[in-house]
């Protein structure tokens, strides 16, 4: 018999291998370290003069750069090392001022024709390029509590409008509690709430003279609040990361209440954390009239002088959530201030309230939520609890001279840094629920570089050793196995590039492991062919029998490994997932190359020779 593949099979194998090569190719063109300079707002022009200024600044600081270019309204400068890139960035930031944002970036060097068919190099994980990784927990309880507070004040307003008398109302431990002086008032309130809100389950009880209405959020509304908080936080974090000027950040939900943020190239974790985690917000309230009842007012300290206090109304006019744009600037006395532009609803609200309040004082409250874990002894067991605190303090209290519109300014901030950070936070939007950091990893750029080098070295050395072993043991067929192995590596790299998988250090280890294990299928086939030859089968039949008999073993063995790698992928996070991805793809490509590519080579080279009496195996 002869071993021959039909034409379509040969074509299929060639096509897959060719595609693999094309999509693996971009990895030979590693990205350049670059700094991208763009205007901090649309009005700032980016032109040739900026390019000249940037080049001048770098020349002065004696930092080497290449290929200065300008496109899409941004200046791009390339560097040979991440060290030069980092130095250049801080130099440029200094030289160009706050009008421009200098962001660390990676510039592709892939030829255009490759990019035009979507071939790009693999993404490098943080452990290979340096940067920060944060895992943040969204405080869902706080999100629900905050929402309940809003409901509480809304319901109270409605009770007042309907003239239903109540003694008090508060959000407590995930539910609302209203106290009424009479049973009829409570029942009126209960029917009002049930007609207006379908979010609550209500329950009534009485305690002496107090008639109490308890409102508990139903499952669906509670989970809607959580989803909203998470999505809102994701959006806000994305905006804030953009404001930080980080190229290719990753902001992703993990699980039901966590968010991963990865910032490649960032080294200053303190700044990143302050900006990402900040819960700072503003509230605008009128100063209380001197005759207002104490139930409608609240006393706050001043931020720069805690001994001084002022009474403000409980009702909030607007919060920082209504801010459309904010910029830091200086007032007539050279003090830092924040110019605020409100959005439509915020502007008209402000107008409505201040129209009737000319001559009264408007207070601006600075709000910050904080929380810390406290260990407590409960029944002899240590329980960790999260204690939340909200700090509100007045940063300015000024007389309203005329009706305020959408544009006004806020003063009373301590310094320029605080003012510009507040402006940034107002622009990016507030967090719907506080977040806190539960995991943080920083990798320095030199360690990343070192990891890449050691990874590549071990792949190369491992490959050479395996190739030599195979040549010594299987001679000509060893060469065949080595070709298959090379194709396998190419396909693996190509597949990972196409899938947009992220290469991490354990991922490289997965590639190394695949190199070692991938020859297994070939070894099984070769051993089987040798056996068949020993049993006296003619050469071509032995080849055929070897391939088809070994198939069952290869298939079973790989399916089980695939299942285990799948579990690793499902359960693992971060680097472990990276390892699982390489392993999974590696199993598929090694089966394809061992079974089809090496078979195709055998068929084309010796499969047609009926005179073959012995094999170099």
């Amino acid at each position: 018999m002869l071993n021959k593949y039909p034409l379509w099979k040969n074509l299929l194998v060639s096509a897959v291998v060719l595609l693999g090569i094309i999509y693996a190719l971009p990895n030979l063109f590693p990205d350049d370290y670059a700094v991208q300079i763009s205007g901090s707002s649309a009005s700032v022009s980016v032109d040739e003069t900026l390019l000249d200024r940037a080049q001048e600044a770098l020349d002065e600081a004696d930092i080497d750069y290449r290929d200065p270019s300008m496109d899409d309204g941004a200046v791009m400068l390339r560097f040979d090392s991440s060290d030069a890139q980092l130095r250049a960035r801080s130099r440029l930031q200094e030289a160009l001022g706050s009008e421009y944002v200098s962001a660390l970036s990676l510039a592709a060097t892939t030829p255009d024709w490759l990019r035009s068919i979507g071939a790009t190099p693999m993404n490098l994980g943080l452990d290979l390029r340096g940067g920060v990784h944060f895992l943040m927990q969204v405080d869902m309880e706080a999100a629900v509590d905050r929402r309940l507070d809003v409901y509480a004040s809304e319901i109270k307003r409605q009770l007042r409008e309907e003239r239903i008398r109540y003694r008090g109302g508060d959000a407590e431990e995930g539910q609302l509690e209203f106290v009424f002086p009479s049973e009829s008032a409570r029942d009126d309130a209960a029917s009002l709430v049930s007609s207006e809100y379908d979010q609550f389950r209500s329950n009534t009880r009485s305690d002496g003279e107090d008639y109490i209405l308890e409102l508990t959020l139903n499952q669906q509304s509670a989970s809607e609040i959580r989803d909203y908080a998470l999505n809102q936080n994701l959006t806000t974090l994305r905006n804030r990361v953009n404001e930080l000027g980080v190229a290719e950040p990753l902001i992703q939900q993990q699980g039901s209440d966590r968010i991963v943020v990865q910032l490649p190239g960032v080294q200053d974790t303190a700044e990143a954390k302050r900006v990402l985690g900040s819960t700072a917000n503003l509230e605008f309230r009128l100063e209380a009239r001197s005759d207002a009842s104490s139930a409608r007012t609240e006393t706050f300290p001043f931020r720069n002088n805690p001994n001084r206090t002022a009474e403000l109304e409980r009702d909030v006019i607007i919060t920082g959530d209504n801010v459309a744009d904010a910029n830091q600037s200086f007032d007539e006395n050279g003090q830092p201030q924040v110019n605020i532009t409100l959005d439509g609803p915020g502007g008209s609200m402000m107008q409505d309230v201040t129209r009737d309040a000319v001559g009264r004082q408007l207070g601006v409250l600075f709000i910050e939520h904080s929380s810390e874990e406290v260990e407590r002894q409960v029944d002899g067991e240590t329980v960790t609890e999260r204690v939340r605190e909200t700090e509100r303090s007045i940063i300015s209290l000024a007389t309203i001279r005329s009706t305020l519109g959408s544009n006004f300014r806020v003063t009373g901030l301590e310094n320029v840094a605080e003012a510009s950070e507040l402006a940034l936070l107002l622009r990016a939007g507030a967090l719907a629920a506080p977040i806190y950091f539960v995991e943080e990893r920083t990798i320095g750029p030199s360690l990343g570089q070192q990891n890449i080098e050691s990874g590549i070295n071990s792949v190369i050395l491992g490959f050479i050793l395996v190739a030599l072993t195979m040549l010594v043991i299987y001679k000509a067929f060893g060469l065949l196995a080595n070709i298959a192995l090379t194709v396998n590596l190419t396909l693996l790299v190509g597949a990972m590039s196409v899938l947009g998988a992220t290469l991490t250090l354990p991922g490289i280890a997965g590639i190394v492991l695949t190199v070692g294990m991938a020859v297994d299928a070939n070894v099984l086939i070769f051993e089987r062919i040798k056996e068949e030859l020993r049993e006296g089968l003619p050469v071509q039949s032995a080849i055929n029998a070897g391939f088809s008999r070994a198939f069952v073993s290869i298939f079973d063995a790989n399916v089980t490994t695939f299942l285990v790698a799948g579990i690793l992928f499902a359960v693992g996070t971060g680097p472990v997932k990276g390892f699982a991805v390489t392993l999974l793809i590696g199993i598929l490509t090694s089966m394809f190359t061992a079974l089809m590519v090496s078979r195709a080579i055998v068929n084309v080279t010796i499969g047609g020779r009926s005179d073959l009496k012995a094999l170099s195996i």
Binding site: T269, F437, T442, V512, L513, G516, E527, T560, V564
Partner: protein
């Protein structure tokens, strides 16, 4: 095609000695795990870790006293790979800003750069521990089910027991030498399961085939023949895998040293266990032709002469 490759080794003749050896190793590992436990890494315990690169090799006791005077009394300070690289580990009670604080506490007197800093919250560590355990158990369970379906229950058991054996011994080595067990080592452990399983299945596959093809000889003899037939394959594959792992151990860098080590030990033990634990189990469980001729699951569908063949669509891949 030399005559020497026909020489058969009486693997199963040593099976009692091998079983004793396995039992000793597993028990030793279990005892060490029970008494010394694992040196769990940051991923599982929570806490902070800072890796610093000094321009000149620092004296570690001095670093320790510098940290102690800055308020970090429980800091663990050690070299990491080279004598200029220093790893500082702090227990979980500190917060997430500790990395910067350690750098500023130490950088007064020496020229150093921050290479890496990690902070893992206590709660995250606990979750990862749980998930890790679940992943391992799930892997065992899935393997048992798949092999029992494709082969037969006795083969399923004979695949899972070696896996438990391998995992325990790798864990044992990490426990005895108190090597840091972190997330990457857990990943390595799962990869070991994959590898060892691969090996075991190849052996089982051959045993099954021979039970059907060779009609004479007892189970022990057939198992022996099968082991001999796949021996060279086992050796070559293990050799190539061990060789690349060695290159990973030497060149892969400090960050994946324990990962590579776990894989190395695992592949070594996994190769041994596919011969001596898996095959041994089959002999002990008294596998015989009846187990394979009419598999109970497929009895109802009538006789399928070669039910080990993969489905048709798969055969087309050949």
């Amino acid at each position: 095609m030399s005559e020497t490759s026909k020489r058969t080794i009486d693997f199963m003749g040593f099976r009692r000695i091998a079983a004793a050896l396995s039992i000793i190793l597993v028990l030793g590992s279990a005892v060490s795990l029970g008494t010394k436990g694992l040196a769990l890494g940051l991923d599982f315990t929570g806490g902070s870790l800072v890796e610093l690169e000094y321009a000149e090799a620092p004296a570690l006791p001095e670093v320790r006293s510098q940290l102690a005077s800055a308020g970090y009394e429980n800091a663990m300070v050690q070299n990491f790979g080279s004598d200029t690289a220093v790893l500082v580990r702090l227990p979980a009670q500190f917060d997430d800003t500790v990395g910067d604080q350690v750098v500023s506490a130490l950088s007064g007197s020496a020229d150093l750069t921050l290479e890496r800093s990690e902070y893992v919250g206590g709660q995250v560590g606990e979750e990862l521990r749980e998930q890790g355990g679940i992943a391992l158990l799930l892997a065992f369970f899935v393997v048992l089910i798949y092999v029992a379906m494709r082969f037969q229950l006795k083969f399923g058991l004979a695949s899972v027991v070696p896996l438990v054996h391998d995992v325990l011994i790798v864990l044992g080595v990490f426990s005895i030498f108190q090597l840091t067990f972190d997330l990457t080592v857990l990943a390595a452990l799962l990869a070991v399961i994959g590898y060892s399983l691969n090996d075991t299945i190849i052996v089982s596959d051959r045993i099954r085939e021979n039970f059907r093809r060779i009609l004479k000889g007892g189970p022990e003899e057939i198992i022996n023949t099968s082991l001999n037939q796949v021996l060279l394959r086992t050796i070559v594959t293990s050799a190539t895998t061990l060789v690349v792992l060695l290159s990973l151990l030497v060149f892969g860098g400090e960050m994946i040293r324990n990962f590579a080590l776990a894989l190395f030990i695992g592949v070594l033990v996994g190769t041994y266990s596919s011969i001596y634990v898996a095959a041994n189990m089959l002999v002990t469980l008294n596998v015989n032709r009846d187990d394979l001729y009419v598999p109970k699951k497929e009895g109802a569908e009538g006789s399928q002469p070669e039910e080990e063949e993969p489905p048709d669509w798969l055969k087309r891949m050949e």
